[in-house]
Symmetry: C2
């Protein structure tokens, strides 16, 4: 039995799962920082990493540790009622709770009060997620433009128009607004909602609870509260 050591944690604007994009790389405006655990705060471990544009993170699905092997899952994006094999999905409910995400490397700070820090864009991770490994993205081995994406190829992801009244937008820090608008435009609701859904939803982002309703293809923000 292999045991894993947490080497770092990622700090993102998502304190809760709802609203996190379904995969990494879909919202480049999302900015995160990777802070190493004390035992791994060594700037030399990052020597040469600045030459790569993208990194792989292998991380822990910390909120979905399962105790029993369940061979099938119901992906929310398939409506939540179709079962597919767990190895045909990136679902968190898998035998070993390992997540895999590609992020864009924006910057490396070798010396901060918290040790060396990586600044990355596009992460689809909960704030504080434990990281087990960081590897460079190697285009010659990892990039397959001819790859076929199974049932995910057939899913349509319509964008929403976002109606965010200026008075509600004002408290959001300007450098967080692009990412938040994009989170909303990509429709954070689960796939298994009903047509004519009149529910009020809330995305927690960057210290705010952003509440909205959706009518047709318009997402209207109705309330913003500091968390």
């Amino acid at each position: 039995m292999q045991t894993l050591d947490i080497i770092a944690r990622i700090h993102t604007d998502f304190p809760a799962k709802f609203g996190i994009p379904r995969q990494s790389g879909l919202i480049d405006a999302l900015k995160s920082t990777i802070v190493f655990e004390e035992a791994y705060r060594d700037a030399s471990a990052l020597r040469g990493i600045e030459g790569y544009s993208h990194l792989w993170l292998i991380w822990q699905f910390s909120e979905s540790v399962t105790t029993r092997f369940s061979p099938t899952v119901k992906p929310p994006r398939l409506g939540g009622n179709r079962r597919v094999g767990v190895f045909a999905t990136r679902s968190p409910f898998r035998p070993n709770p390992l997540g895999l995400s590609c992020v864009r490397l924006e910057g490396v700070e070798l010396s901060t009060p918290r040790g060396p820090v990586l600044h990355v864009a596009g992460a689809d991770l909960l704030d504080g997620t434990p990281i087990y490994d960081i590897k460079p993205y190697l285009p010659y081995a990892d990039c397959h433009p001819d790859a076929v994406g199974g049932f995910t190829d057939a899913i349509d992801y319509p964008r929403l128009k976002v109606d965010f009244p200026q008075a509600l937008l004002n408290p959001i820090p300007p450098d967080k607004r692009d990412a938040l608008m994009e989170v909303l435009a990509q429709d954070p609701r689960p796939g298994y909602r009903h047509a004519g859904d009149a529910r009020r939803y809330g995305v927690q982002f960057a210290g705010f609870d952003v509440r909205f309703v959706v009518e047709g293809d318009v997402l209207k923000v109705v309330d913003v509260e500091a968390l």
Copy 2:
């Protein structure tokens, strides 16, 4: 501390490390099979996987478990004398011994005497390597044609001409020859050899020890022995 369970093992033609391509996907003629451990022999866990062309494997660097964190490594392809940060490499000598490889999915057999089996191409893994996770390759999230590959972009990998005398080739099963020729053409020698290297090397492949010398850009096979 997270513990991981082995879900499967991959069966490849490489009983030893020497000769394994430096990354996955470089030799499509390499064919492997993934056989699940008994607790995970459930065909429904693969439902839908046949729709994907490529898979990610997260696996154990079973021959290189380290006990102490070493922040830098000397990649053989950099000549073996230049140190770079471990997180800027895919080196096996990392805090958690997790490997990441993309393979092409060639076929799925749901019912064999060993349970469901995946047939994959291009794996850069040692025979018997433990697998921790299998995930679909999602082109929209995993394919980054614009990615920059750090110091690996600058490395030149000259191909060798392979001189494999017919009498020595005869014992190799015909369906293994293309892969073996390509393993040799990609120059399996470590990067830190000297110019004018007259050593005799041996690649173990598909049950044979294939011995060769290299003169200039010609790799000449000098002996083939059954293992």
